[in-house]
């Protein structure tokens, strides 16, 4: 009787030990993998202008960049201002009309005190609304550059990505979420400086 009890106790201990070692090994491997990937990020893909970039929710094609003293509306502001304009085409791959996310574009190195861009619809030369699925549109992102900032002749634009979560971590609702950049585009600014302060 006592012998049998001891044996079953030993079996249970053995099972607990195996489970403990297994789960400890699983968490160590998962943490180690996460730390390794954070320390050695995969090199960012460099896309040429005119090349399609799949960001998850969008297919983005960067056409080019320019410096202008006018926003894409063509109406010159009363106070002289400098705008950095990036022309691109966006195809909405989701199932509903969506605004271009404000975190879609960033620069490397970052431009200090750069405000959020305003997205213009080339068709209307006016501020763009939500972009419809299956209707690719030509758009222009316009950044109003800080007054004391001299744009360099080359800029590196990072294009962000989005993932779809069927159940998000907070509410369990379905939504798109911004993720880190998927591609970098080297942009030439041929008229930097000259045209900017005209």
């Amino acid at each position: 009787m006592a012998n049998e009890q001891r044996r079953s106790l030993r079996q249970r201990l053995f099972a607990i030990l195996i489970a403990g070692i297994g789960s400890a090994a699983a968490s160590v491997i998962s943490y180690a993998a996460a730390i390794y990937h954070a320390a050695n990020p995969a090199p960012l893909r460099t896309a040429a202008t005119g090349e399609m970039i799949d960001t998850g929710q969008w297919h983005i094609t960067i056409a080019g960049a320019r410096i202008s003293n006018k926003p894409p509306t063509g109406i010159k502001p009363t106070e002289p201002q400098t705008f950095l304009l990036v022309d691109f085409e966006a195809d909405n791959r989701s199932a509903a009309s969506t605004f271009i996310p404000s975190a879609l574009f960033s620069f490397d190195p970052t431009i200090p005190e750069l405000p959020e861009p305003t997205i213009y619809l080339v068709r209307d030369r006016w501020i763009a609304g939500p972009v419809n699925p299956r209707m690719p549109e030509k758009l222009t992102a316009a950044w109003q550059l800080p007054q004391d900032y001299a744009p360099p002749p080359e800029l590196r634009l990072l294009v962000g990505s989005q993932i779809y979560k069927e159940r998000d971590n907070l509410y369990g609702a379905s939504n798109w979420f911004d993720r880190e950049p998927v591609a970098a585009v080297e942009l030439d600014l041929p008229d930097a400086g000259a045209e900017a302060r005209r």
Binding site: A96, G129, M135, S174
Partner: protein, 197 residues
């Protein structure tokens, strides 16, 4: 041996039951989504808070409308769908602000924001109980998402569990398809006037 078999069967059943529950759990977005009220074109569709009827539906390749700083022509890579409708609040004054077009593939197109200053557009006026008001709806749609579409109308796109009218639309008559439609400011009763080319 039979005990082990029983355990294995119980385990499989439990896994199947858990998997079934996981599959059948509705998404949060589904739990709080608007309550659908079906309707058909040609009959007034009624929710608890408002009544709406579709009067006429037009299709065009190009739209000309009064915009900021003069009349503008709006081009599109698809088609413009222009819907003339009328709506009335039931018990208290409300504002209808959300209109979507659900294409036959289930894709949702929001009402265009390109014509922001056109008179009579949905959301530009409040509805009062007992006073029917004309409402203009304009959508920009790809050609293959027009036929077999559903019009979704709600007070707000963000209010969960509120009622949403889902009006099944009939195919557009050939006489109502035009190369270009001009929207002009209208008179006292109808705030807009359509001209066809």
């Amino acid at each position: 041996m039979s005990g082990g078999l029983k355990n294995a069967v119980a385990l499989c059943l439990a896994i199947a039951a858990l998997y079934g529950m996981r599959l059948s759990t509705p998404l949060y977005s589904e739990i709080v989504s608007p309550v659908a009220v079906p309707g058909v074109q040609g009959k007034p569709a009624k929710t608890a808070r408002f009544v709406m009827g579709i009067v006429k539906v037009y299709l065009a390749q190009e739209l000309t409308a009064p915009g900021l700083g003069g009349t503008r022509t709006y081009t599109t890579s698809g088609r413009w769908l222009v819907i003339e409708a009328a709506a009335k609040a039931s018990n208290e004054s409300i504002a209808l602000t959300s209109a979507q077009w659900r294409g036959p593939d289930g894709i949702r197109y929001a009402m265009t924001r390109r014509l922001s200053t056109t008179p009579g557009l949905l959301g530009s006026e409040r509805l009062e109980p007992g006073i029917p008001r004309p409402i203009l709806l304009v959508f920009e749609l790809p050609e293959n998402q027009i036929e077999g579409g559903t019009l979704l109308i709600a007070e707000s796109a963000l209010a969960p569990l509120s009622e949403q009218l889902q009006i099944t639309m009939t195919p557009i008559e050939a006489a109502n398809i035009h190369p270009s439609i001009t929207i002009e400011r209208g008179g006292h009763i109808l705030p807009w006037k359509l001209e066809f080319q």
